[in-house]
C-alpha cells in the first residue's frame, strides 16, 4: 500500500506525461486519429474485448499485460477486426472504447516491466489516492489521444467558436467531446476570450458535462463543476430550441455581473440524446479582469 504526498503525485504526473510523449515520439505517431495498436504493442498489452462488469480492466501477465474492454458479444469480432486491421489500427473504434483502452494503457506505466509478470509500483490504499491514480490515467489517456502539439496545430486551423468545427476536431482525433474539452482545458489551448460548454439533459435540466472557459472570464463564469446545472451559470438568452437537423443556432447571451451585463455571441448546436454544444464568444473584456 502506498501513501503519497502531493509532491509525489506531481512526480508521477510528470512521469506519465513524459512516458506518453516519448511513446508517441518513438512510434512517430504524428497524424490524428492516433492509432492504438502500435501503442498497445509497444507496451506489450494484448486487448481482449468481451462482456465485462466494468468498462475496462488491466491484468499483468507473463507476456506483459492483458487489457479487458467491455464489449457486447455481437460486437466483439468487429471491434477486434478494427484494432487488428493494419489500415485501421483502432482508429475507427468508438471514442469511449478508444479512451478506455488508452486509460488502461496508462495504468501499465505504473508497473515495473523488468519483472515477470510486471510488478505494480503504485498500489493506492485510500479513496484519495485511488481518485488521484484514476485521474492521472485519464490525463495520460488524453495525452496519448490528443497530443498537445498536434492539437494546437489543428485547433488553429479551426474556428473554435463554431460548434461544428469543435465536433469535427473531436471526430478527427477519435475522441468524445468531453475528452476534447477537458484536454483543451488542461493543454492551455487556444481560446480567445470566450467559453465552450458541452451540456447534457439530466433529470429534465441541462447540466455541464465539460467546459473550457477562458481565464479572463473566470470571475463571471466560474469554472463549473462536472454535472453542475447549467442554470447556475446564470447565462441568459441562449436559444436551445434547435433540432438535430438545423445548423448551429446563433443568438445573444448575457451574463449579469456586478457592474453591467456582459454580452456574448452564443452558438448552439443540438446533438443527440438531449446534448448540446454551446460556444460563447465575448467581444469585450470584463471590467476589472486582466
Amino acid at each position: 500500500m502506498t501513501r503519497m504526498t502531493s509532491q509525489k503525485w506531481k512526480e508521477w504526473e510528470r512521469s506519465v506525461r513524459t512516458k506518453a510523449q516519448s511513446l508517441l515520439r518513438s512510434l512517430e505517431l504524428r497524424q490524428p486519429a492516433i492509432p492504438l495498436r502500435p501503442l498497445l504493442d509497444a507496451s506489450r498489452a494484448e486487448v481482449i474485448f468481451r462482456p465485462l462488469l466494468v468498462n475496462g480492466a488491466t491484468a499483468p501477465c507473463d507476456t506483459g499485460f492483458r487489457i479487458y474492454c467491455q464489449c457486447d458479444s455481437p460486437q466483439v469480432d468487429d471491434w477486434k477486426r478494427r484494432l487488428l486491421d493494419d489500415d485501421d489500427l483502432g482508429r475507427s473504434l468508438p471514442p469511449s472504447v478508444r479512451f478506455t483502452l488508452a486509460h488502461e494503457l496508462v495504468h501499465t506505466f505504473f508497473f515495473d516491466r523488468d519483472s515477470s509478470p510486471p510488478r505494480n509500483r503504485l498500489v493506492p490504499s485510500t479513496d484519495q489516492s485511488l481518485t488521484q491514480l484514476e485521474r492521472l490515467c485519464d490525463r495520460g489517456a488524453a495525452e496519448l489521444l490528443l497530443p498537445a502539439d498536434l492539437l494546437a496545430n489543428d485547433a488553429r486551423a479551426c474556428d473554435l467558436f463554431s460548434p461544428d468545427d469543435i465536433r469535427g476536431l473531436a471526430t478527427l482525433y477519435g475522441v468524445s467531446l468531453t475528452t476534447l474539452l477537458l484536454r483543451m482545458k488542461h493543454a492551455d489551448t487556444l481560446l480567445d476570450s470566450g467559453a465552450l460548454l458541452y451540456l447534457s439533459t439530466r433529470d429534465g435540466q441541462l447540466a455541464i458535462e465539460a467546459a473550457v472557459i477562458h481565464t479572463s472570464l473566470c470571475r463571471v463564469l466560474p469554472n463549473p463543476r462536472s454535472r453542475q446545472p447549467f442554470a447556475e451559470l446564470r447565462v441568459a438568452g441562449v436559444d436551445f430550441s434547435v433540432s438535430l437537423q438545423q445548423p448551429e443556432r446563433h443568438s445573444h447571451a448575457t451574463v449579469p455581473t456586478s457592474n453591467r451585463p456582459l454580452n456574448f455571441e452564443a452558438r448552439c448546436r443540438g446533438l443527440r440524446s438531449g446534448r448540446y454544444l454551446l460556444t460563447l464568444k465575448s467581444s469585450e473584456t470584463p471590467r476589472g479582469v486582466n
Binding site: 462488469l53 466494468v54 480492466a57 488491466t58 491484468a59 492483458r66 485510500t126 479513496d127
Partner: protein, 422 residues
C-alpha cells in the same frame, strides 16, 4: 497444490477452505457477516507474537498455495483470506505515561479497554476473514488479577478491582471471540528466550521469576473457568473453543501448526452447527474433523491424499444427489446450495479488491439486497444469475480496475433482472 510444501503444512492447507465455508454458513443462516476472531493470550515470551505472524502468513498466502494452477478451484474460494492483526495494546498502544507511572491497574485497564474496542470492531466488520487479537480483554483480566494479588494489602487499589476483572472476562465478551488460545511457558525458559533475543541484559517481565510463576498459575486457573464458560455459551458443541498450549521445549512452527489446526477445526465445526448441513468427515494425521460441504471434502481429500467419506443423512446436498466424478473422495454436486452473500462477494472480488475503501463499504448493503432478491429466484434462476455474473468476470489473479459501488450495483441489478426470466 504447490509442490515442495511439507506434508504437515499440506494437510493444513487442505483444510483451509473451512474458513470460507464458515463465513458462507453464517451468511446462509442470515447472520451478519463478520470475520472469525481469535484472541491470543499468554505469558511474556510464550511465543504469542511469532505464532500470530506465522498464522497470519499461513492464512494470507495459503489459498494461493492450495489452489496453485488448479483453475477448477478458483471461484469456489476467495483469492486470498484477508487477515487483520491489530497492534498489541499493552506494548504498542498504551500511553507512555501509564507505563512510566508504574500504575499497573490503569495500565492494564487501558490495555483491556483497547482490546475490547478491537474485539467489538471486529465483530461488526464484514471485510476481513480472520482477525487475531494479540492479548484481548480476557488477557487483560488475567493481568489485573495479578495486580489484585500483588497489591492485596495496598490501600490505593480500589475495592472494585474484582469487578473490573470480571468485566473484562464477562461471557458477553468472551463469546465474541470464536477461539481463545492461551500460551504458557516455563518461567526459566521464558527468561532464557529473553536473554537469547537481546544483545544486552533486559529486565522485562520474563526476567521476573515471581511474576512469571504467578502469571502461569493465574492463566491456568482462569483457563479452566474460560473453558467452562465458553462450553456453556458458544454455538460450537463439538470442538473446544479454547486451547492452552505449553510452549516450553516446542519449536515455533509446531505451535503455529497447532493453532492453525484448531482455528480450522473450530471454523469447520462452527460451519456445521450453524446449519445441520452436509456432514463429511476428513481424517488428518492428528484428528478427524467434520467439514461443511462436499466441495470442501473434495479439496481436503485432494490435499491430504486421504479419503473423504460422505456420512448418511447429509441434507443440504444429499448423498443421492452426489455424483462421483473421480477417484474415491472426489465428488461434485448436481444441485447448487442456496446463493450466499459471500459467494457473490468472492465472485466479484477482482472488482471489489481495487475499490475505494468508502465505496467498498457502500457495496456491502447492495450485495446483501441483490442476494436477498436472488434467493427467491428458482434454482435455475439462481444458477443463471451466477452464470451471467461469472461471464462478466475475467479469470485473473490480479485485475486493476476502478468501479464505484453505484455502477457495480446497477450492473448487478441488471444481471439479476436478466436472470429472472429463467
Amino acid at each position: 497444490m504447490d509442490a515442495g510444501i511439507p506434508p504437515d503444512s499440506a494437510k493444513l492447507l487442505a483444510l483451509l477452505p473451512a474458513l470460507a465455508r464458515w463465513r458462507d454458513r453464517r451468511d446462509a443462516a442470515g447472520k451478519d457477516p463478520r470475520p472469525f476472531i481469535v484472541e491470543i493470550a499468554g505469558m511474556p515470551k510464550a511465543g504469542k507474537s511469532s505464532t500470530i505472524a506465522q498464522v497470519r502468513h499461513f492464512f494470507s498466502h495459503g489459498l494461493k498455495a492450495l489452489v496453485g494452477g488448479d483453475t477448477s478451484l478458483r471461484g469456489t474460494l476467495p483469492p486470498e483470506y484477508r487477515v487483520y492483526t491489530p497492534a498489541e495494546g499493552v506494548s504498542q498502544r498504551t500511553p507512555a505515561q501509564l507505563k512510566d507511572a508504574d500504575n499497573l491497574l490503569e495500565y492494564n485497564t487501558w490495555a483491556g479497554a483497547y482490546a475490547l474496542q478491537e474485539l467489538l470492531w471486529a465483530n461488526h466488520n464484514d471485510f476481513y476473514d480472520l482477525v487475531i487479537l494479540d492479548r484481548g480483554p480476557w488477557d487483560a483480566g488475567c493481568w489485573l488479577e495479578y495486580v489484585q494479588k500483588k497489591r492485596k494489602n495496598d490501600s490505593e487499589v480500589p475495592e472494585c478491582l474484582k469487578d473490573i476483572i470480571a468485566f473484562f472476562q464477562l461471557p458477553e465478551w468472551t463469546v465474541k471471540a470464536d477461539l481463545h488460545i492461551v500460551l504458557v511457558v516455563d518461567p526459566a525458559s521464558a527468561h532464557e528466550r529473553e536473554k537469547q533475543e537481546r544483545l544486552i541484559p533486559h529486565r522485562g517481565p520474563a526476567s521476573n521469576k515471581d511474576l512469571m510463576e504467578e502469571m502461569e498459575r493465574i492463566y491456568r486457573a482462569r483457563f479452566e473457568a474460560l473453558a467452562t464458560e465458553k462450553a456453556k455459551h458458544c454455538d460450537c458443541e463439538t470442538v473446544e473453543t479454547c486451547l492452552l498450549i505449553q510452549t516450553t521445549n516446542r519449536d515455533r512452527l509446531s505451535v503455529a501448526r497447532e493453532v492453525i489446526e484448531r482455528i480450522l477445526t473450530v471454523a469447520a465445526a462452527g460451519a456445521v452447527t450453524v446449519e445441520t448441513a452436509a456432514a463429511v468427515e476428513v481424517t488428518t494425521a492428528s484428528s478427524t474433523i467434520t467439514v461443511g460441504s462436499v466441495r470442501e471434502a473434495e479439496i481436503a481429500a485432494r490435499g491430504t491424499g486421504t479419503s473423504a467419506e460422505i456420512v448418511d443423512g447429509a441434507d443440504t446436498e444429499t448423498t443421492a444427489e452426489l455424483v462421483s466424478v473421480g477417484p474415491v473422495g472426489t465428488y461434485a454436486s448436481t444441485r447448487r446450495v442456496s446463493l450466499t452473500v459471500a459467494e457473490v462477494r468472492r465472485m466479484i472480488w477482482p472488482f471489489l479488491k481495487n475499490m475505494k475503501p468508502s465505496q467498498r463499504r457502500n457495496i456491502g448493503p447492495i450485495i446483501k439486497e441483490i442476494v436477498a432478491k436472488a434467493r427467491v429466484l428458482s434454482p435455475e434462476g439462481q444458477t443463471a444469475f451466477l452464470a451471467n455474473l461469472s461471464s462478466l468476470i475475467p479469470d485473473e489473479q490480479e485485475l486493476l480496475n476502478s468501479v464505484s459501488a453505484d455502477v457495480l450495483g446497477t450492473q448487478l441489478h441488471a444481471i439479476l433482472d436478466k436472470s429472472r426470466n429463467k
